[in-house]
Symmetry: D2
Subunit: 261 residues, 4 copies
């Protein structure tokens, strides 16, 4: 079964900043897309902020198995309607991989329910991404750690919920640490946050980072049919109860009536 | 140290439905407040939907240690600004106890990042709330289970994130089960969801239920000073790094500049 | 890649109790093995208590991807050496599926570090196994619940660590609930505990139960090479540190010396 | 309510190594005990390996609320009977704080069910213990991090189960990271592993480290009465079922018979 991945990028730095364009001439999304395409089991396309509905219209999301998200300076420009749509699709079973500065994206904050804040420094310092769960499906093939000659420091506290699993923790030359790979589940959807990926360093060209991205897409893929009514709270009438029961007590609802939302 | 608890109630059923008023003549919030007041270490007040800012103005929330939330038919009438304010206070360290139909409140959905949907039936059937972690601080003193002669059935799947801890699971006469007591953490704040509490049954008059409520207030209380800047992502300049480092590589930011949000 | 599964059974009830033999004429392990063999991607064999080293010699375990464990009356007869060997293989990456009364097996208690106690009743009562995480890989294809006409009641509190995920919760006719499907991770190995399966009821003939078993084998399979030295704590000498450092301070160890265990 | 803490130490390095004695003249346990005694709500005593039953006879453990454990070179000399006794007491509700090289103690490995292995280097390098959950009860009052001029490097992967909460992560000068503060629960007992504390450095004299130890004792304290029968699996006869049921189906057990173990 081919996994249908979509790489979303706000695609602004690459057009406005020469330093970024030098590293990602056709956009971070294209570099990531090529990394994913090295796995013949992944079929990949891209979407960007400037497209209609940011390239994430309902029909397309319905045919997306895993969405990757890179955003930074334009989080506020992402439409709330699209964010709600993506959040619903995650609950239905779509995988989501949030990258780097996406920690402050509307979609990640909405899914975490937490500020998702952190400390940061852009000094081109060494970062070393350690696998704390090295045989986790997302870390396989990476070895004990990933050495990045230049990383943007992201430092703890990273104000997110306790994860399902901590997969990676980063060491920074300037003295900080950061939980750089975390897994979550929301409804039927799996979420992986992965912090490496600053726009002024060639991190998405790193072979180990690219392995993590491919692994993460496979891990996040839920092959089950979409859970379309995941957000609905259906009434189970007395007549449909699995055990025979008799209606008792007062009730505000009439038979068959929908609940309050 | 006295714990300052506020019981919030939308306070509509009790004014519009005779059956509810018979059980909670001055409102569910007052019954819960009296339960909490049995603990001399808890100082309790109430707030309702119809008050200005729903009784949850910033100054009051700043002096609230633990907020309890009961809402049902008017979730949509709660102001988004108040919801954001409560969510920020939870991240800062305020405890939050979400009760029964509050599973669909704006604040709970915002904190969970998940649909919070479930199955339901209002048949007055027997509910038995089992302590799966019986010596957890929230379950202490309750014994193996709480027998409720009449409960509203809430059934799995309950579409919430994997909890930190499952404290209670309910059995229903009609054949369903439900994770009726779950703990979460968001920033410095602790959250407890507790499902018993339907408005047409006298559940908040039950002595064991009242013990759980008091326990939960104590558990949710974080005595630390509020983490006011929990949502801020400060830059740590090279000069302030804990290890001596030298600026390297390209940068989009100028020294001292704030990050994007 | 074919998954190599081994179904282990103490294989005593079937030889000594006519009621059990009537349901599992050639042993519970053979019935489970046939369930797994319906998945062409699983290659399955069996092992029993009465074999040399209980059929679990080192060479065989080294070629086992997922082990299933059914034991009841002879937990104490399982060799401690074999238990240690299985525990080491789980840490290396072998999956383990512990069934029903295996909650009190030496291997499950060793992996959980907890008493693994529960309440029980053998009354042939109805059991309903609800999927609380219905699109989890282990629950896929099962639907909302599994109806068992006769189940042995296992009741909470089930004294195990908080699981990674709660996949199933059972309802019992006599009034109890039980977390009947739980996931854990130990080292590189995944563990699934699944409680249905009493020897005097035909539970492993149930099509949905058989689907869960196949799902669980696929979920528990870690295709990575075995983490052979998972239990070793290697010294990283100063000369091999990834950052240049200088030896400082007092030391009890000489260079290259192994640590204490 | 005064919390009764016992600090256990193998007490060998301090008697055999001058370098250690210079830092801990009367033993690491006495230094830790004095740290705890600064909290008037903690009543503290000590126990050592060379005492009868290592100072942990049943009657004493029964009156211990929280046990702290420091061991290193003599893990193998600790009696298995004492380890089982401590493990049972943890399940009953006694708190346990495992320090530094105690990661390889029999009791910690028994409770984790995992190898508890790690990487290490004794180079006196800088260690910085970051609070990732800074308002957690164990981290309160410590600030963003603890700076240790000399630490023994403990590096990931640390092969333990996913914790309930990650409270601290350490940065090391030589380039590694380590989850240095982790919480677990086993039965009614809370467990905290805290890695700083090498015998040749004065770490337990550090004021912030001492704050963590006091915090941890308060956090680990379960004031409930001991859960004496936590490991027992009682039968619930049909006559005692909370719902009326009728015995059905075959059974291997006679009425009132104990289950297999």
């Amino acid at each position: 079964m081919t996994i249908r991945a979509v790489v979303w990028n706000e695609f602004l730095h690459e057009r406005h900043d020469e330093a970024v364009r030098a590293i990602y001439p056709d956009g971070i999304h294209q570099t990531i897309a090529r990394a994913l395409a090295e796995d013949a089991g992944i079929s990949v396309s891209t979407a960007t902020l400037d497209q209609a509905e940011h390239g994430l219209e309902q029909a397309r999301l319905d045919e997306t198995d895993v969405l990757l998200w890179w955003g930074h300076r334009a989080h506020g420009d992402v439409s709330d309607a699209v964010v709600r749509r993506v959040q619903q699709r995650v609950a239905e079973g779509m995988g989501l991989i949030v990258l780097h500065s996406g920690h402050f994206s509307k979609i990640f904050k909405a899914l975490m329910g937490s500020p998702c804040s952190l400390r940061w420094r852009e000094a081109g310092e060494r970062e070393r991404v350690w696998a704390v769960n090295p045989l986790h499906p997302i870390a396989r093939g990476v070895g004990p750690c990933i050495e990045l000659a230049n990383g943007e420091m992201y430092g703890e506290p990273f104000v997110v919920p306790e994860p399902l699993e901590t997969v990676f923790i980063s060491w920074f030359e300037g003295g900080e640490v950061f939980r750089s790979g975390l897994t979550y589940q929301r409804g039927a959807g799996r979420i992986f946050y992965f912090s490496p990926g600053h726009e002024t360093y060639p991190i998405y060209h790193d072979p180990q980072i690219r392995t993590v991205l491919r692994n993460a897409v496979r891990w996040a893929h839920n092959p089950a049919a979409a859970w379309k009514d995941v957000a609905v709270a259906p009434n189970v009438p007395v007549s449909a109860a699995r055990e025979t029961i008799v209606q008792r007590g007062a009730s505000l609802h009439k038979a068959g009536e929908a609940g309050f939302r």
